[in-house]
Symmetry: C2
Subunit: 254 residues, 2 copies
């Protein structure tokens, strides 16, 4: 059976997350419904990652086996005509038959967005977390690289994760700001624990607020103590920007 990979963008505000759940609208069910309509046969998709309720995605990837080939350049428009406003297929590729968006993922890139000002901004609120009060963004910038490399991230894992190990490798952690009040925390890694990016972001916020010194981050990591890390920041600030694959060896050239 032919396989396809779809790159999905969605506004997570009104979704319970990627994965099908009993308690509300999921992105996965919207994608499956669109594909089932197009292929006139029930289609199941596998996502690169679950995302929590309210988290956004610009480049979540999912894979599906399909009964016949629809040209990859036509598939996004065909899907988008069926999908609701808050989700769209932004790219599609014909891929190796055994491609699995979850297991073949080589890593992910997330951005957590914070808006720092005296007053809240309704035009930014949907895709960011608003903070007020003193914030030392340079301290946050200094703290970020301490998260890079392989560490036991047990202190940065919400209760409810079911992994065997809490050791993970982060390739890049960076805090960016152009001084206009928008702060972007970019995190790239191979795999992530439950709520890991939101807890790292909350810890970097504590650094900005003077509650943790930048050079104390290694000790917070080493403690493996959830209580020593920052709060889990709310989902609306988080966007899954990109999922990495060895596309050269996965895409089928037709």
């Amino acid at each position: 059976m032919p396989s396809v990979a779809l790159v999905i963008e969605f506004d997570g505000t009104d979704f319970v997350g990627w994965q099908i759940q009993d308690n509300g609208r999921s992105v996965q069910e919207e994608i499956q419904r669109a594909l089932t309509t197009l292929y006139k046969k029930e289609i199941k998709v596998t996502g690169s990652s679950r995302t929590d309720a309210g988290v956004h995605a610009r480049g979540l990837v999912c894979s599906a086996q399909v009964p016949f080939t629809i040209p990859a350049e036509k598939l996004p428009l065909a899907c988008n005509a069926i999908l609701p406003e808050d989700v769209a297929v932004v790219a599609a590729y014909d891929v190796r038959e055994d491609f699995n968006a979850r297991f073949d993922s080589q890593g992910k890139r997330y951005i957590y967005r914070i808006v720092h000002d005296r007053v809240r901004h309704p035009l930014l609120a949907r895709y960011s977390y608003f903070v007020t009060g003193k914030l030392d963004v340079n301290a946050m910038k200094k703290a970020a690289p301490f998260f890079e490399g392989e560490h036991d991230f047990a202190a940065f894992c919400a209760v409810g994760g079911s992994q065997n190990t809490t050791v993970r490798r982060l390739n890049h952690v960076e805090v960016r700001s152009e001084g206009d009040g928008l702060i972007e925390i970019e995190v790239r890694g191979e795999a992530f624990l439950y709520n890991m990016v939101r807890i790292i972001s909350g810890t970097l916020l504590y650094v900005g607020q003077g509650k943790i010194a930048p050079e104390d981050i290694p000790a917070v990591i080493d403690s493996c103590d959830r209580e020593r890390a920052g709060k889990t920041l709310p989902p609306e600030g988080l966007t899954l920007e990109e999922v990495f694959y060895d596309w050269e060896n996965i895409k089928q050239n037709k």
Copy 2:
């Protein structure tokens, strides 16, 4: 009685517009309700401009006479604690007693945002208008300055406007794009006709689509014929960015 000026930011998606109307939620009623709660007396506000249903604002200004003075630096936070999520007071000033946000306005700056791509983008859709197909952005850039200056803009006025004259002066019309698919049409002028920015934007879009040549814009203006201009683009792409005043002579120094 003391007077205050408030700078208002709102997400227009779920509003019928600025002005109080029978058919739904208006920004004006939300602001008046918040002020009435704070001052414990019914407060009426005058807006710098009406905005249509679905249009956003980053800097609409309104004025009000109030029974006593709340320090201007505290007023935004006091209002925002009462206001719903999609509207906020981002600045407040003590102003001359006779200040009127509508009559004292010296001009306004609007931006119309277009997203041009093969596929639609759910994370951009709330604050922009999506177009696909061929688009010559350079032609749009070339056409924009033809709108500058004093003209009879009868061709760019929706039916339903009630003005005596359709002559208006635009100080600046510019199309910007960094080649990433986001196109911003900025329009600055002293006063505007009903739907004028949305019709100018639709006309510039026609230029990008090759339906009107840039150098034909003066003839379209001179025709005073609504049929020769472009379509009225939808409200979600439009944001009232700023309203201009002679603040030096309006603000009260306490």
